[in-house]
């Protein structure tokens, strides 16, 4: 009997141990270890010397970092509102018992099921190849098509289109779940009071969806700062022509695993994390502020 009780008392620890041992080593420890690495001048996997804040100071003069940060911010400013707009729009329409909504919803969600590498391959072809439907269409109206990805001006729009195509369905599902938690009686009451569909959307849906919208916006922001797979496939680790597609996710990878500057890459990763956390809190703050007004 005593043994039974002892087992009951230790059981919780035994249950969480397998997870927490791995979590300690591969989840928590790297976060601390990364700070230490960022203060070192690592050469490959061998620990180098302590260089203090040198790696962070280097951020101020590194043009790659400046370009990657501004590209990420520019794309983020475009992607996040468009993503929210499209996904909320589709979700709102598909929440009505409209003909074919199951088909539409499945179709819009299909890109989410596709691996990011395949998405990259598809968009590199569609936007970059002479033998793509786009190329043929432009050829028909007499425009010679050499592919958009060779022109710096078109690289960001190409990434933008790819991101919207891949992720709108995903955000739409989040929005749909949010919409379905709004009680139907609210709309019923609004209708009886003579509100139009648009008014109901503006004064019921939007305020009640505030948190869900903020959630989707934060996810898109985080995704933008961590964007790697699709961008790597579309423009390569160097960011394409004129570094027009160089993003934070790409330079962290490049500095770490192509240049083997582990210290600097860790400093970059931490700065990236600070941007993500700061922007997330900013968006939460704004959405709560809007609510209290």
């Amino acid at each position: 009997m005593a043994r039974w009780y002892a087992w009951e008392r230790t059981a919780p620890y035994v249950f969480i141990a397998p997870f927490f041992i791995l979590f300690g080593l591969f989840g928590a420890f790297p976060i601390v270890f990364a700070i230490w690495i960022s203060f070192q001048d690592w050469r490959g996997i061998r620990a180098g010397e302590f260089v203090g804040l040198d790696n962070y100071a280097r951020l101020f003069t590194d043009s790659n970092f400046h370009i990657a940060l501004s590209n990420t911010l520019i794309l983020g400013v475009l992607v996040v509102p468009l993503m929210v707009l499209f996904s909320l729009g589709f979700a709102n329409v598909l929440n009505y018992p409209i003909r074919g909504r199951v088909l539409y919803r499945t179709g819009y969600f299909l890109p989410v099921v596709t691996s990011l590498v395949v998405v990259g391959i598809l968009f590199e072809f569609f936007l970059g190849s002479t033998y793509s439907p786009l190329g043929s269409a432009l050829e028909l109206v007499g425009i010679e098509f050499k592919g958009l990805l060779g022109t710096p001006l078109f690289i960001k729009p190409a990434i933008l289109i790819m991101l919207l195509w891949r992720w709108v369905g995903y955000n739409m599902m989040i929005m749909l779940a949010g919409l379905q938690s709004i009680p139907g009686e609210l709309y019923e009451a609004a209708r009886i009071d003579g509100a139009s569909g648009m008014q109901a959307f503006l004064y019921i849906t939007i305020p009640l969806m505030r948190r869900v919208i903020a959630f989707a916006a934060i996810l898109s922001t985080i995704g933008m700062f961590n964007l790697f797979d699709e961008a790597y496939m579309l423009v390569g680790p160097g960011g394409g022509v004129d570094r027009a597609g160089l993003l934070m996710g790409l330079i962290i990878y490049k500095q770490a695993f192509l240049n083997f500057k582990f210290g600097y890459a860790s400093a970059l990763a931490y700065v990236n994390a600070l941007f993500i956390i700061a922007l997330s809190f900013l968006q939460i703050f704004i959405s709560e502020r809007v609510a209290s007004d």
């Binding site: 928590a28 596709t114 599902m173 139907g184």
Partner: protein, 319 residues
Amino acid sequence: MPEQYDAKTMRRSQTNAFGLGNLRFSPRQSWRPFRAGAHVTLTQIGLFIAFLIFVFPFYWMVSSSLKPMADIYIVPVQLWPTRPTFNNYLEIMRLIPSDEIDWRGGISLNRTLLNSAIIAIIYTIGSVFLASLAGYAFAKMRFKGRNILFLFMLATMMIPNSVGLVPTYIIMAMLQWVNTWFPLIIPGLATPFSVFWMRQYMTTVPDEMIEAARIDGCGPFGIYWRVVVPVVLPGMAALAIFGFMGNWNAFMGPLIYLNKPELYTVPLFLALLNSAVAARPTPLNLLFAASFISILPILLIFLFAQRYFIAGLTAGSLK
């Protein structure tokens, strides 16, 4: 065990912890207070155009994978494959010899499909098992340090994965795990989100049910295995699908850790086929055939288990 708590009823009545698994798939009859009226046609047209945009790349991938190479590299392109052939699939699967594919490193799609399947299945089983064990402890057991450990775990979720990239690589190098599959399986098992997800499901299991099993002489592991797991199977299914898909599609890990072609996973192999540095780029018809095969498993899971899929994926966003 009281009758009303059998696993089936529980599952049916279980409220999804995030409200995301409850997407209704049938139109909501009681709720159509606003008539879209004349806008209906316009809306339908808009929805249909959007549908075409979302689905067209898939159509193009499949139709191109059925064209012989001569029909790919022409302008204007063929909207419909006039001479459909399965040869691309046979070539890419190495069932017929091919002059077009330069098998870099001597590996084939078949081999990388097998590699990916092994890695993803081991990962999925391990992840669901570890996360559900820990999730159960956090949801239903009392022990010292429970809340602190849980909060600590959640707090680390705020730090993006890119921070851990370099340190994890150094740890893997020290363990001599570079060029093995361990880095693609082990660190992923320590994802706080999975534990969080399982814990949310476990909290819906009634305490009386666990107490009843305990009185009947069930030990802690017996309760977990015989009472709790059957009830939270939907949650585990969603987590499994989410985990499997993430692992199957993972690109950065294999890119960093695998240099030996025989260890490659499917996404890495596709990137290699697509790479511009290759002396002889893979013809598009073969590349699209390979791409389509690579997304097929996930596509099938999606079509057959949409509900779990969407629940797992949209909540997985919390990561």
